[in-house]
Amino acid sequence: MTEIIVVTSGKGGVGKTTTSASLACGLARTGKRVAVIDFDIGLRNLDLIMGCERRVVYDFVNVINGDCTLKQALIKDKRIDTLFVLAASQTRDKDALTAEGVRKVLDELIADGFDFILCDSPAGIEKGAHLAMYYADRAVVVVNPEVSSVRDSDRILGLLASKTERAEKGGTKVREHLLLTRYSPTRVAAGEMLSIADVKDILGLDVIGVIPESPQVLSASNAGTPVIMMDESDAAAAYGDAVARLLGDESLPMRFIDEPKKGFFARVFGG
């Protein structure tokens, strides 16, 4: 049984691609077969974050147009055997995607026995974002703890409830999860950032993960390593927890959501 999960947000720059890469790695590490697809046609980034940009020969649009087979376009990850990347086209525009084309690729991946298909949505609410969410079974809505991101997420949640295949066919609705990124407990305590409770309250959804603001996210991106693979990073541990919750472990407590306690020396000498 294949599950299609869209990673979306509405707003740009909140961490969709970072999240797609880390969730894909995290799921694949448990032995699941995972394909992660970049829907951001014309602005492809996922291959960079996954560290496979030099191995892209064929892309998503090539598969849709029948220029190559899906097998030729899927890039096998070098770290995890069960993880595959389908890159976006950098030279086309978003009109290259069609609903039938996307369905065909998804069907082929399902027939191939993948456990999870992650769809990394572009920002905005136009065609790319629409097609990324259209066939989803579940949605991970990435949100930063600030008002414009929360507003855009609300809009996206509205679209998930109305503009998806599940919504249009009247079946069970798309399961929605919130994932907070760039969360800084210190700034929340100072009242500069919305708290987890604020975001939950405004969007009326439960949070599947809280990723703390961490310099390692940027250095991981630059190194082409999904941040979840960086050992001894808070962000990696938090993504690990989010993957476990995605797989159904609801008992895990949230970590890295409280202001760090200052140690003895920090208290004496000022931290």
């Binding site: 507003r151 609300d154 949640l157 509205g158 679209l159 405004i202 969007l203 009326g204």
Partner: protein
């Protein structure tokens, strides 16, 4: 909301009679400069809300029929204010004569007949009942009797979504997000936080009310009388609130105080 009056499967257009929201400007005087000044002042409070809005001139409050030239001046004043006059309402002989001269259609609306206010209220109430159709529905087909219970909406109304309860109340049991719109011909009830826009009595029922569990609305309108909340009044923000019309004025009060 709309019913097809004539459409064949193969046709390239649909001809439909429908109802759309339209800003009505009811003229009390025909003094174009004064109208222009007042429009500018009103619009300054919510410029986005009025930009390129279609306007229907309501002549029912005028004692004497205005001159065509005067009305042209008023249409121009409205245009300068950034809005577009799309028709004349008040289906009296006055409008019937004036409208063709202005090249505008006569829009027969819910308040089609120029009736005194008391009758208007009764007509609005009657709209909730199936028997006397006070609405001038152009379509001859037999409408099913409107449902008597309210429209219950259990999902959150997200930013950009719009929920409309035609000829009945709307009951939302979840939150209404910022940038969302909830509308009803009757009352609007929100058993969650109301952050978006709420409009009750959208077809003119001045007895319609708004009720909400946690008030943080951007805009509240009842029978076309609206208020924009740029900043929320301290005494209302976050509290259970109801809103209703008293004459032409919107009133707000907290529950349980």
């Amino acid at each position: 909301m709309k019913k097809a009056a004539a459409a064949t499967p193969a046709s390239v257009i649909d001809l439909r009679f429908g109802q759309v929201g339209l800003l009505q400007v009811r003229l009390r005087e025909v003094d174009a400069p004064a109208i222009k000044a007042e429009l500018a002042a009103r619009i300054a409070s919510a410029p986005q809300f009025f930009q390129h809005t279609g306007v229907c001139l309501d002549l029912s409050a005028l004692e004497h029929p205005p001159e065509v030239a005067t009305l042209r001046g008023i249409v121009e004043a409205i245009r300068l204010a950034g809005m577009i006059t799309v028709g004349v309402s008040d289906a009296s002989p006055t409008a019937d004569q004036l409208a063709p001269a202005l090249d505008l259609p006569v829009l027969a609306g819910f308040r089609q007949l120029s009736r005194p206010p008391a009758q208007l209220v009764r007509a609005a109430k009657a709209a909730a009942q199936p028997a006397p159709e006070a609405v001038s529905e152009p379509e001859p087909e037999i409408a099913p009797p409107p449902p008597t219970s309210g429209l219950v909406h259990t999902q959150p109304v997200r930013s950009g979504q719009r929920v409309y309860a035609r000829e009945r109340d709307l009951i939302v049991t979840a939150a209404v997000g910022a940038g969302a719109e909830v509308m009803a011909d009757g009352c609007v009830h929100v058993y969650g936080t109301l952050r978006g826009r709420a409009m009750a009595g959208v077809r003119g029922d001045t007895n319609a009310r708004l009720f909400c569990q946690e008030f943080r609305a951007e805009l509240v309108a009842i029978a076309g009388v609206f208020r924009v909340f740029e900043t929320l009044p301290e005494e209302l923000a976050g509290h259970p609130v109801q809103a209703w019309l008293e004459g032409e004025a919107l009133r707000f009060s907290r529950f349980g105080v």
